[in-house]
């Protein structure tokens, strides 16, 4: 058996793994990526990116339906679900190819194979033709990601009960859908299918949708979705799925009563679990806890020379968190100066439904629970010129400050393009800005971003336009 030597071997070519590999190569390390499926991982092939393509189609369709609001006419807009899916797949394919080029450009060796840790600085790779090879590396980064969680009784079958995977490439347009789970994935699919005209029911076990978001934002989201005709059931649980020939009858328990809802398809979006099985962890001292790999501040595991980044190492399960962990880990390995652990309180989260939701830091409830004396600022889209001009008068920018220090504890936004704006607050948090720096920053007029400024002013009783 041949054995190849590397400085760094990354198992998994998702947004954590391929970014770590490129950074390692940039720093002069001989690097390899072992990827069993597609470069770019779930994010690029079956997650973030293709869903954004789908949602863009839905958004354009929505605008076509509202053409008259803008003085335009568009008679009987229609769509072809196959072509929408085709476009989405094309976007993924283009980007996945792009990653291949980036890795090549940076002289990263890519193994189209399945990787397993062997212990003692070795990784066994199994290629598609079942041949095996051993790679040895000073540093091994586990970036195997996560997959959809499966709850007993709600097992997806790929036909009537979908996961994100099938929901992303529907072979027909379902007339009705029930989505289990109202996290980012569930809500994005619910919004996509609702906008295209399906009857959509969302069932959430918690008492609000998008449970990680601020209560106020979650409430506004619910109102907006219900206004669009979505049916939302909270504190509700799907207890049974009764499968018909081409439909499913869902038994939903709410307040002790069971309601039966029959739909064409069910989408299970009840969270994700880390891919820790069959990657050779038993050959190492790597510890796992609650189904994920235990890591230190710089993603190091209990086995010297083995690191874990991204979803496999725990929440938040976000591509940008994985990429950052990868870069920090590699730069720490390379001994660069100014390398700091990831501050998880400064990671923004985005949901690309209509309306969009974006947030960073503590919710109002969590800030209070943490004992902060807080100042809360709010600015509604209704008060913003650009929002009115865009025909997007619904939404809110909410900011939460520590009254004592002026630290921005959290920012929560709902409405048009908020996912593109949240980075402004992220930069502020990273630079440890206080309310004064936000106030002293000049925001361009007319933009939606002016609402961020006004929200900060509002927290201190100084809002001008509302």
């Amino acid at each position: 058996m041949t054995e190849q030597n590397f400085d760094v071997v990354v198992i998994g070519g998702g947004p954590g793994g391929y970014v770590a590999a490129i950074r390692a190569a940039q720093l002069g390390m001989k690097t390899a990526v072992v990827e069993a499926n597609h470069l770019g991982g779930i994010c690029l092939n079956w997650g973030c990116i293709p869903t954004k393509a789908l949602l863009r189609s839905a958004e354009v369709f929505h605008l076509m339906n509202h053409a008259a609001d803008y003085g335009l006419s568009c008679e009987k807009p229609s769509f072809d679900i196959k072509k929408i899916v085709e476009r989405s797949r094309g976007v993924s394919k283009q980007l996945s190819g792009g990653i291949g080029h980036l890795l090549k450009k940076n002289k990263v060796t890519v193994f189209d194979a399945y990787g397993r840790l062997q212990g003692k600085g070795k990784v066994e790779i199994e290629k598609k033709d079942k041949t095996k090879e051993i790679l040895s590396a000073k540093h091994i980064i586990v970036a195997t990601g996560a997959r959809a969680r499966v709850l007993p009784g709600l097992e997806p079958d790929g036909k009537l009960v979908w996961t994100y995977r099938e929901a992303m490439v529907p072979d027909f347009m379902p007339k009705s859908l029930l989505v289990i789970g109202s996290g980012a994935i569930g809500i994005e699919f619910a919004s996509f299918y609702r906008t295209l005209g399906a009857d959509v029911t969302v069932v959430e076990v918690m008492d609000k949708i998008m449970p990680v978001e601020d209560d106020e934002i979650s409430g506004l989201a619910r109102k907006a979705f219900e206004k669009q005709g979505m049916k939302i059931m909270t504190s509700a649980k799907v207890v049974k799925l009764e499968k018909g020939a081409n439909n499913v009858t869902c038994h939903v328990e709410v307040a002790g009563k069971v309601e039966k809802i029959t739909v064409d398809r069910v989408i299970a979006a009840v969270g994700i679990v880390a891919n820790i099985e069959d990657i050779g962890l038993a050959n190492t001292k790597v510890k796992t806890e609650k189904g994920q790999i235990v890591t230190g501040k710089y993603s190091e595991t209990d086995e010297a020379g083995v690191y874990a980044i991204g979803d496999v190492a725990g929440a938040p399960w976000l591509a940008h968190k994985a990429s950052h962990e990868g870069i920090i880990c590699i730069e720490k390995i390379a001994g660069l100066r100014d390398v700091h652990p990831l501050d998880k309180s400064g990671i923004p989260g985005c949901t690309y439904a209509h309306p969009q939701v974006a947030s960073i830091g503590l919710t109002e409830a969590k800030a209070k629970a943490a004992g902060y004396d807080i100042k809360v600022g709010r600015f509604p889209f209704m008060g913003n010129g650009k929002a009115i001009a865009l025909g997007e008068p619904e939404g809110l920018v909410k900011t939460i400050f520590d009254a004592k220090t002026g630290a921005l504890l959290g920012a929560h936004m709902i409405g048009a393009e908020v996912t593109e704006m949240i980075q402004g607050f992220a930069i502020g948090k990273t630079l440890e800005a206080t309310e004064l720096e936000f106030m002293h920053t000049v925001f361009p007029h007319p933009t939606l971003s002016e609402m961020m400024h006004e929200s900060v002013l509002s927290a201190y009783g100084k809002a001008v336009h509302f």
Partner: protein
């Protein structure tokens, strides 16, 4: 408009000082550049010069006041033609000082002139500003430090490029101006309290109050000896060639200079540091700093305590330049008139007790430097050369080093270089 005279910051690290003496009294006329007061800082006594011409109308801080924060108004100057009635309109201490001091920020002054918001306060007099050593800190870190009464200069930054971030100030202990002296006295006088013991046993004594120089020296030396892993290397140097060279050079000088053995020791160290930079260093957690120049601190005993003026870039200077500079520095050190830049910094130290006949001793490393050379007396000793006993003038030097940055082999190699130069002074011409 009356001008405030502010407590100047005489060094980048100075946050407060003692107003030792007023050389002018209220009512005196002062000219720009005239010395009006003396301020004792942690290291030296400094003169405060008037920047403007006028009449010293009011002294706000009496002589002998200690812990006067930098930028506190210490006196008010009336310009030509103004009389004392203008005083009430003087917004005292108009520029907010980093550490607000209760006195000298009279709110009644501000109240008296509410109708002139356009009259922005003048720039503070003299050195109070301008000695900018910028502290990089995040806005949030600045605010939390202010709330905790923490001096950012005492905080080590761990953010990008050493920027002070929130966690740094949260982790830093509040070491405000009042608590600092306490902690330093705790450090220097741990163990049984000598005064208590002496009183209890009825021992007779005179109390000689410690001035700032003594306090700071005590604190720094205690810290150095307790936290720096010291070790010591001694070597004997034959001085006969040096002494002959010295006589020849001084005879030829015609009064332009008069070289001492100490000048040769400074020069030989400068040349050795240039030839062998690993000894010219400071230890930091992240890296050893290797200095470009041999900035040599020379310990000088003064009536007020120990001070170490610096011959900067000594490797670029000739013996006569070193000699004349040293004479000037030593004289002013003894008068307490050194500027902070003349004794702060330095990359290598020399302490010479040879003139007292001390044969050899071990000095305490002068942080953050790595090395200090303790120089003993040059004395005639019997040495064996080629199997013969001969009499030579021999001097023992002992190098104390910080083992973290200068280990045994480095220290020993350094001494080889030094010995080569001191025993063959002609090589210093190369």
């Amino acid at each position: 408009m009356p001008v405030n005279i502010l407590m100047p910051a005489l060094s980048p690290t100075m946050t407060e000082g003692t107003l030792a003496k007023w050389l002018k009294k209220e009512g005196d006329t002062v000219k720009a550049g005239e010395v009006i007061a003396e301020i004792e800082t942690d290291k030296a006594t400094m003169e405060v010069e008037a920047v403007d011409e006028g009449k010293l109308a009011k002294i706000l801080i009496p002589a002998g006041t200690s812990n006067v924060a930098v930028n506190t108004a210490i006196a008010v100057l009336l310009e030509d033609g103004e009389d004392a009635s203008a005083l009430s309109a003087a917004p005292v201490a108009a520029i907010p000082s980093p550490q607000p001091s209760p006195e000298g920020r009279g709110s009644e002054g501000a109240k008296a002139a509410p109708s002139s918001p356009s009259a922005l306060p003048p720039l503070p007099a003299g050195e109070g500003r301008g000695e900018g050593q910028r502290v990089f800190a995040s806005p949030l870190a600045r605010r939390i430090a202010e709330q905790k009464g923490l001096d950012l200069k005492s905080v080590k930054g761990t953010g990008p490029h050493g920027r002070i971030v929130k966690s740094d100030v949260e982790n830093a202990k509040a070491s405000g101006t009042t608590s600092a002296p306490k902690s330093s006295s705790a450090l220097t006088s741990s163990g049984p309290d000598a005064k208590q013991l002496a009183d209890m046993l009825g021992m007779e004594y005179t109390e000689i109050p410690n001035n700032n120089i003594k306090k700071v020296t005590a604190r720094r030396l205690t810290e150095a000896k307790q936290t720096i892993p010291h070790f010591y290397l001694s070597v004997d140097c034959v001085l006969d060639k040096l002494l002959a060279a010295r006589v020849a050079m001084n005879n030829a000088a015609d009064g332009a200079y008069k070289l001492s053995v100490n000048d040769f020791i400074i020069k030989a160290n400068a040349m050795a540091l240039k030839a062998y930079p690993p000894a010219n260093t400071s230890w930091t957690d992240d890296a050893v700093l290797q200095y470009k120049h041999a900035d040599i601190s020379i310990a000088v005993a003064t009536p007020n305590g120990l001070i170490t003026p610096i011959i900067k870039a000594a490797e670029t200077k000739s013996l006569s330049e070193i000699s004349n500079e040293m004479k000037d520095l030593a004289k002013r050190a003894k008068e307490g008139k050194l500027k902070p830049v003349e004794f702060q910094g330095g990359s290598f130290s020399i302490s010479n007790l040879g003139m007292f006949g001390v044969k050899n001793f071990q000095a305490i490393v002068n942080p953050p430097q790595s090395c200090i050379m303790a120089v003993g007396a040059g004395e005639e000793r019997v040495v064996v050369e080629n199997g013969q006993m001969v009499v030579r003038t021999v001097m023992t030097v002992t190098l104390s080093t910080d083992h973290r940055s200068v280990d045994g082999a480095v220290g020993a190699e350094y001494l080889q270089h030094f010995k080569k130069f001191i025993e063959n002074p002609v090589l210093m011409l190369a």
